[in-house]
Amino acid sequence: MKLRKLNQKKAQMKIQEMAFVLLALVLLAVISFVFFIRLSSQKITESAEDVKTTQAKSLIEKVSSLAELECRGKALCIDEDKAVLFKAMPEQDKAKLLQGLSSVKILRLYSPYLTEDITTLYGSQANSSYSTFINTCKYKAQGNIFNYECGIAMLVVGN
């Protein structure tokens, strides 16, 4: 009777031991899985941020070359009159043209003429921003002929 009880206890101990080992294994697997997920999600976030940054940088030139904004026959130049009209366009239409950017701003550094406010062309807030120098020009009558009169500005795009 005593021996049987002792055997039963031994068997119970063995089952408990096995259960603990299994529990430890499962815990180890869960911890490694969580660690792996965190590591890969961090990698994915970093890579997504890299792509967004490269996208924004490569789009700076595209903004000033949009037919809706560009100066006639000039590179890296925004026409002031067109910019005022562009600003008034529906946001969803602008979003299509500026896919990949969350904001576009023009910060005037020098302007030889008085103009309307075109500081915020599209969007408002951005996580990070990138900029380049551009010309902002206005088509003006000089005698009988119209010519561009230009200032300097900073084109700031955000993503």
Partner: protein
Amino acid sequence: MIKQKNGQMEFGWLFSLIIGAVIIFLAIFFAGKIFTTGTHLSDVETLRTFDILLNPFSSVGSIASLTLSKSIEMPYNTELNLSCFPSGTQEGQRLSLRTIDKKTTGDWVSYNIKNKYIFGNTSIQGKTFWTFSKPFEFPWRVDDLIYIISENYCFIDNGMPSSIKKELSMINASVIQIVSNQDDCEEAITVCFSGCSGQDVIVNYGDQTVAKDRQHTMIFADDASMYAAIFSNNQLYNCNIQRLLTRLQGQIGIYKAWAMELNREGCENQLLIDRLNAFNAGTSLNPYIISRAGSVKEADSYNCPIIQK
């Protein structure tokens, strides 16, 4: 007693085997999942990078009439799918990509592009894609058209306009060949301009039409849209032209308001304003719209031109 012990041993073995099998199964399952996710992520990154690489091609038209062709080398043999939605909330192009390895074929990954006009065959396969672009001027530069090609094209120079011959020679793409005799074409899509019989693509430059595979005829407005008709299929061409004309309709509003503003400041452009008022871009190219665009361009004022460069 011995029997009972044997029973306990059998249960222990059985239990270990089951747990071992479960652990091995889970390990293989998760390893597979991780590998698939890794491949998928790498494809997504390749696709987004591919889109970024196309950005310069879509902005260079403001300073150049044609870009040199550049080859985009993919890390693996890749299949690219181009689909297009002409209107609605989905308006734009869907670029889908999957890697085709010798052993495995990846899942499709897609990205919607709304700010580019990409022409090519619906399905393009290879490791190297040749890309170049040209501004679509109708009547002003609406945007740049991007061409992606991986197949060989053979242009027969009989009757080919000299400007086209010069441009095609200049872009310097190894997939584009200009020959004087069709017999010199080696396993390529043949393009003919004059005295054609049986070629894959027949261009009637005077009538501004491109006929493909004796099935579809596409109307083009300028050299950029002619290349688009040559290098892409009928469906993609018509869809992208509709997108471009929708964009043009918005630009007409901007150009009209701009012309009126300049008119108030002394610009003699009433004829241009009148023609812009009567100009409707429509949804497809036809001889009437092409002639209307031409008349708008002609009306551009000489003392304050806003269309011609």
